[in-house]
Symmetry: D2
Amino acid sequence: MATEAVPHRSHVGASPELERFYAEVGEFHMRPLWLVLADAMTPEPTPKSVPHVWRWRDVEPRITKAGRLVTADQAERRVLMLLNPALDKPAATATLFAGIQMVLPGEIARTHHHSPAAIRFVIQGEGAHTTVNGEKSIMSKGDYLTTPNWTWHDHGNESKEPVIWLDGLDMPFVIMMDAMFFQYFPEETQPVTKRMDDSKYRWGANLKPSWVRPSDGGVYSPLLNYRWQDTREVLHRLREDEGSPCDGILMEYVNPYTGGPSLPTMDAHLQLLRAGEHTTAHRHVASTVYNVAEGGGYSIINGKRFDWALNDTFVVPAWSWHEHASTGGEAVLFSYSDRPILRSFGLDREQIHQP
Amino acid sequence: MATEAVPHRSHVGASPELERFYAEVGEFHMRPLWLVLADAMTPEPTPKSVPHVWRWRDVEPRITKAGRLVTADQAERRVLMLLNPALDKPAATATLFAGIQMVLPGEIARTHHHSPAAIRFVIQGEGAHTTVNGEKSIMSKGDYLTTPNWTWHDHGNESKEPVIWLDGLDMPFVIMMDAMFFQYFPEETQPVTKRMDDSKYRWGANLKPSWVRPSDGGVYSPLLNYRWQDTREVLHRLREDEGSPCDGILMEYVNPYTGGPSLPTMDAHLQLLRAGEHTTAHRHVASTVYNVAEGGGYSIINGKRFDWALNDTFVVPAWSWHEHASTGGEAVLFSYSDRPILRSFGLDREQIHQP
Amino acid sequence: MATEAVPHRSHVGASPELERFYAEVGEFHMRPLWLVLADAMTPEPTPKSVPHVWRWRDVEPRITKAGRLVTADQAERRVLMLLNPALDKPAATATLFAGIQMVLPGEIARTHHHSPAAIRFVIQGEGAHTTVNGEKSIMSKGDYLTTPNWTWHDHGNESKEPVIWLDGLDMPFVIMMDAMFFQYFPEETQPVTKRMDDSKYRWGANLKPSWVRPSDGGVYSPLLNYRWQDTREVLHRLREDEGSPCDGILMEYVNPYTGGPSLPTMDAHLQLLRAGEHTTAHRHVASTVYNVAEGGGYSIINGKRFDWALNDTFVVPAWSWHEHASTGGEAVLFSYSDRPILRSFGLDREQIHQP
Amino acid sequence: MATEAVPHRSHVGASPELERFYAEVGEFHMRPLWLVLADAMTPEPTPKSVPHVWRWRDVEPRITKAGRLVTADQAERRVLMLLNPALDKPAATATLFAGIQMVLPGEIARTHHHSPAAIRFVIQGEGAHTTVNGEKSIMSKGDYLTTPNWTWHDHGNESKEPVIWLDGLDMPFVIMMDAMFFQYFPEETQPVTKRMDDSKYRWGANLKPSWVRPSDGGVYSPLLNYRWQDTREVLHRLREDEGSPCDGILMEYVNPYTGGPSLPTMDAHLQLLRAGEHTTAHRHVASTVYNVAEGGGYSIINGKRFDWALNDTFVVPAWSWHEHASTGGEAVLFSYSDRPILRSFGLDREQIHQP
């Protein structure tokens, strides 16, 4: 499906008459397509975003310092955004937001909802909680939590230690679509109306309650927390499997109500790179944010090596060649991407490197 | 579903220490979320694009002049883009492109394909043609043609008169998604391999050929041309119907293979405003481009009146209040919007004005 | 996908002790599976129904005589059922009912509804009508009408001539499923609340009204009448097409709301056998009832030739080899089958004869 | 949605002339509809099947005796069918088969596949196995296993004890549809090509392998075994939930690939009746077979009380009023029904008793 890069064939010259014409139509908010065609209709994607690694050794001391400088109450959310060096907006890729959030013992991050959907992947700590639409879940290292579009959510930390996680949102996409809505809940915290781990028992064991109809038609995962103790076990149980040549044991978190991605705009994966595994390079239109959940290694992205270690976050832009390798044993990567958006319209493509 | 505009509650003050901290994290491509939260997470959409009318009396002489200044061969496509006055990119709304294309007698617009999908709505003339994946169709005033994602297409004009149409593309959306692909066909024109109006007889009469499976799974309409003579008759047959309070007799062009929108990213409609009809105001997240196919009237958009006459093009940005009125008899509007994208992710909303 | 017929391998012998055991378990409403396994689990389907042709020259005088012997009021519906000679129930195949209905000038067939769905294919006459859920449609030779599950319907004839049609129902299937419901409307005729051909203009031109949501979720075709003048034209426009080797120009009537079959349990087709065309034999699990709409010819079903002429009705049972040939020019066949039921559960199969 | 039972209004009298007419049309395999209308088009379903309980105290000694009288090799499958007392076919309801299968230590039930789908619910024993398409699973009391349409399957028992389970098949439905196919595997046992519990780890933890596409499009559950230890825990975790008024804590086994029923023709449920719970009566078109997995109680079916104890099997026919009550503590019921077939065509209905 790859295309050859060929020069565009429009060849309108320059002349004073043409310049006058361009000025004239500009007054009426028009402009000739031929002036922008080659830039707009490129043979293949030319993403502005670049590959980048945010190292935990750089991030951890600074999110900790943020904990001293501002309170959660002051900040609404104590998050350091991970900004793609080549983008001029709060985004890690054209469509995806990434941030590092810390909640200190005793803090509360007040209740709100918004049209962007969010994911959380816990990097450090144990004993904070997220409450989504009345269900409270305790968050531990490696847990993956979903906060669907327009669900009330707040966070807290009743433990003795700071808890830090990766926030992933489709906010850049929602803003591009002019579809941002945001609202506060009347109280700081919403009431907890469901039992602990309610969704796990209702939806998480290949059973579903027959007396419940999801209010959203099932488009969002009803599961609040995909726990590390469960997901990690699966990765290791499947260690001997062939897996994907480009991604090793790449498991997708699924919405048990549909078998599809856990959020309609973003899919999320957990993947095991076995000791010594070096994957085949490929590229796809979907852009991806990774967090290193276990071990270490490196990725070669568009020909350049990016090393990564535990808890680092890195990004692979759209249509960028990439391959992964573990070093010093097994590695586990968490990731999320905008593939579901592209797939909905036949806009994703994949090309596997042929050596 | 409307939200109240409330001030954000983050209230981090300013201090030299904080300024140093912001600079420090900036070096590592991080930035505090609290600095942008109020701007990014707005209570409701704040689209940059503005309402605008491109009047035919302004457009027609200038696309005609373009016909004298550049050839189709030079320009690849002789299109004057309709640029939203408030956007700094080639777009009519955040997601939608609009342009006016003219093909002169004897000209050929060479064959290419691209990942954006396109629509054509014929404004003036008769006897040009579009060929899509081997099917050629003659274009007449009022016809609506689809050019799905990645289909080979070229245009020509074997008549004696210029033919002018409105081009609508999802190009801004595709570019935002970093998903642009473009390719030339090896020859200037592709071979015509199907009979004239082949798709109309195969798919257009509530029958389908049982021996054909659509290669794209049916996501794109197999119908090349929804002809004005057919669609206009329907509008007038349903004149006595109640219709929609906000839009009169608003008929959606459908993909006969699925009953859904004619393209997966853009829906298209034809609507009749009856003599003296003045619709109820509403707003929705979907942004819309209109072309006046018959008659005249005006729209009140966010409280300001915009008059329109035959062949004018105008735009209603996302989440903008709008109501339509015909003047001097019936009016017919053609329109296309990005609603299918929003709907796919639960991001469209509608609010009807309560007097 | 064909299976070889192999003898079953169960080989439980006979003994007085076993006979006593069989009697003993029988008292508790149990029976050994091994006694019936070979009969129940056959290598391939062994339908009870047989091929059969009901000739118009036999049917026409007798439905006419029925018109003298009973009134529509007495009979509720003046229908002669077409009974498969090998079945002991009112059915043409295991799942499908076929009948010939006549309405005389001035008669009314009173309003009722039932859980079986019905189709009508007009054999003779012009000017009768069917009213379904408030929409009245005039019926002419060759028209195909749908009466979905649980829709109120009545018939009448305001013309000067008898009108005769083929009734097709999924009644045997519905009865097998223990799912029969039936109810009278309070009045003999229901009120006509919609314009003539309302559904044709609302749904039949690749446009749909944007202010209407189908109450059944779109599972039933909203089109009441697929008119012969439209469907016949399509068949002849596609005459030069390759078509299906096993069926010629076989066009399926589709539900414009979904692109799927016109009823959820039964699909319906119109097919053109061109002059001299003799199709390739195939077999499929779906059983089919045919009516000859134009011309004449024959079918070879399981090795035996069945000639057919204008207006004849014939049946091809499940998993029966069949091929069709026109004689003396072109022929057009109308047909309906139970394929949608089988397809829903992965139970349809097709085998094409390899010469 | 209930209908009133009203007498049919057809009132064709009797006469010698009519009798001659009936005989005459009979020669041509026709028959007047008015002779059968009242019997065929009943106001509501009139199922032939009746409620019945097969008591474990009757079944257990006889399946044990069958173990002495015939070998698995002789019988192909050592199954005692549970025959509905009012049906003249091997069926528990119009559409569903139920049987009790026993595999003795050391036995093998040879490999075959067939177009009916099957379920297994383990009643007694531990350590037998089922192998489906290369995956072998050990079966324990309370486990629910699926054997989709046309999958190779065999059973064995490497333990020291007999293992007994309930077999549920859609065989009566498949036979009615003339869609039976059956085939032996070339060898007695198929090779085991997958790890133990492979499907549990690939699909059972709300993760899915991204490198696998289900060959059947996902219509069948990829999960071989829904283990009692998992499902029972869920029932008890949800004990405090409101549940369904008609069914208590009724959990549906789901296909993790779609969120739908575990087989496309049959759904299966596990339900907890809490101590002292007595459900509200309702009826639905779907017919249901139950097995008592824990505790005891009774059901009132169409006004008659049917007591049941551990391991009993009982049946509720279509459109039969039924309510359940536990006695002496909690009870757990396993059940399967034909609801997915009915739902596919809008043929299921439910009526809840209004006191």
